[in-house]
């Protein structure tokens, strides 16, 4: 606990520096001087003074948290001493499998051809936004134009990485689903019918 005396004695620039520190630790992108000034409702010159103070406090060799000026503003990074530990933290073990949501979304896109998020959502019966986003991020599906018509939704198709991961020479090598429909159109029809029954 801090003594009241120290609170009173706190230098205003130091107080501002703390607020800037707080903003930077929460930000997920570098913050510019102007953004910091707006957020703190303070003058850019005083922000600069606070930044000077923080630069000293969060210098390489003095703290694990290092203040860095990058394009677009200021951000915290890990100190160089901690590079190995950071590498271990971010080096992810090989993932064994996909979530149910990801697997279903991937199956729909692979078997039915380019599909939009609304398509996937209709067939699965739940919103597909996060599943699609995560598959795009992993490089298993990618954008493939838009649905016809103005303002059509973005469509997605599987990528070469998808084929590699599933050990397929091409999409034609997918296990057959003849019992569900003769072609992609019939399959789509069937899936939409079931989805409708599920929703009602």
């Amino acid at each position: 606990m801090e003594s009241p005396l120290r609170l009173i004695a706190l230098n205003p620039v130091d107080r501002l520096a703390r607020t800037v520190e707080a903003l930077l630790v929460v930000a997920s992108a570098p913050l510019s001087l102007d953004e910091l000034a707006d957020a703190t409702e303070d003058h850019p010159e005083r922000i600069e003074t606070a930044i000077c103070l923080l630069r000293e406090r969060h210098a390489e060799g003095r703290s694990g948290i290092v203040l860095e000026e990058v394009a677009g503003g200021f951000a915290f990074r890990a100190s160089r001493d901690a590079a190995d530990a950071c590498a271990r933290l971010f080096e992810r073990p090989v993932e064994r499998g996909l979530s149910q949501a990801a697997l279903e979304t991937l199956a729909i896109v692979a078997y039915l051809g380019p599909c939009s998020r609304p398509d996937v959502a209709r067939i699965r019966g739940v919103a597909a936004d996060s599943a699609v986003a995560s598959l795009v991020e992993r490089g298993l599906i990618s954008e493939a134009g838009r649905e016809p018509g103005q303002g059509g939704a973005v469509r997605y198709r599987t990528t070469p990485l998808f084929e590699r991961v599933f050990g397929l020479e091409s999409l034609a090598a997918l296990p057959r689903l003849d019992d569900l429909g003769e072609d992609a159109a019939e399959l789509r029809e069937r899936l939409l019918e079931v989805a409708e029954a599920r929703a009602s």
């Binding site: 929460v26 997920s28 570098p30 990074r77 899936l191």
Partner: protein
């Protein structure tokens, strides 16, 4: 306690006068027969009360729906003691317990929701970073080799028709009584008399139960007359004015 508007809803029914929550207590204590309760009148009272207020209290509406549908369920079970077993294998007493259990569960969840809301208020001045740090190293996600059969399986599962969902214990599994009210009114606008059994033939037992409730409500409102030659004989439904004519004829004869 129930939210004020529902709890304090003053009811003036044939079988009961007082606040809704007392009615509920009496039902749970089995001091009152569910079959004596005029559900339509309760709904009417609630709608009137709601209309008097400027604001629509959605919370109260939700609470009310749960209560009324549970009440309807109790009433249907009490009306069809034999079929109740078939419907949900629940005795009326068990249904009363089920109602209390369901209400308690819903109430606990509402309490939990209130706790979360308080907590959110208390956490309002704590900010964490959401998402990755701007200067964090980028992590590659490496996926192990996958089996393509898993894709086929996933799609096959999506193509399976869903099971016929058993709504046996859902509060809102009844078709609206109003549906049958309208239906019977329409039939009677074309015909003076019809057989209830013939009219509900082919409907599920639950639908038949609700249809009968509708019939009773119409009878209570004085819109129709009911007659039955003997126990288990078809129930004959006629317009109320026709009944009065019959009565008059009978008395004059």
């Amino acid at each position: 306690m129930l939210p004020t508007p529902v709890r304090e809803l003053e009811l003036e029914l044939d079988a009961f006068e007082g606040p809704f929550d007392l009615l509920l207590t009496l039902l749970l204590k089995e001091e009152l027969e569910p079959r004596e309760i005029d559900v339509a009148a309760i709904v009417l009272a609630f709608v009137e009360r709601t209309a008097e207020r400027d604001e629509l209290d959605l919370e109260a509406c939700g609470e009310f729906l749960v209560l009324v549908s549970a009440l309807l369920e109790l009433k249907a079970r009490a009306l069809f003691p034999d079929e109740a077993a078939e419907l949900g294998e629940l005795e009326p007493e068990e249904a009363a317990e089920e109602l209390a259990r369901r209400l308690a569960e819903y109430r606990r969840m509402k309490e939990a929701a209130a706790w979360l809301l308080d907590r959110l208020g208390a956490e309002q001045d704590r900010f964490f970073r959401i998402g990755p740090a701007p200067l964090a190293p980028r992590a590659e996600r490496v996926l192990a080799r996958q089996d393509p059969d898993a894709l086929a399986e996933a799609l096959r599962a999506l193509a399976l028709p869903p099971p016929t969902v058993s709504l046996g214990h859902m509060a809102l599994r009844f078709p609206p009584v109003s549906q049958f009210l309208e239906r019977f009114r329409t039939v009677l606008s074309h015909r003076r008399v019809f057989d209830f059994d013939g009219e509900v033939e082919g409907l599920s037992r639950v639908e038949q139960a609700v249809a009968l409730l509708a019939l009773l409500e119409l009878r209570k409102a004085g819109e129709i007359a009911l007659s039955q030659a003997q126990a288990f004989a078809p129930i004959r439904v006629s317009r109320a004015d026709d009944e009065r004519i019959h009565e008059w004829k009978a008395r004059s004869a």
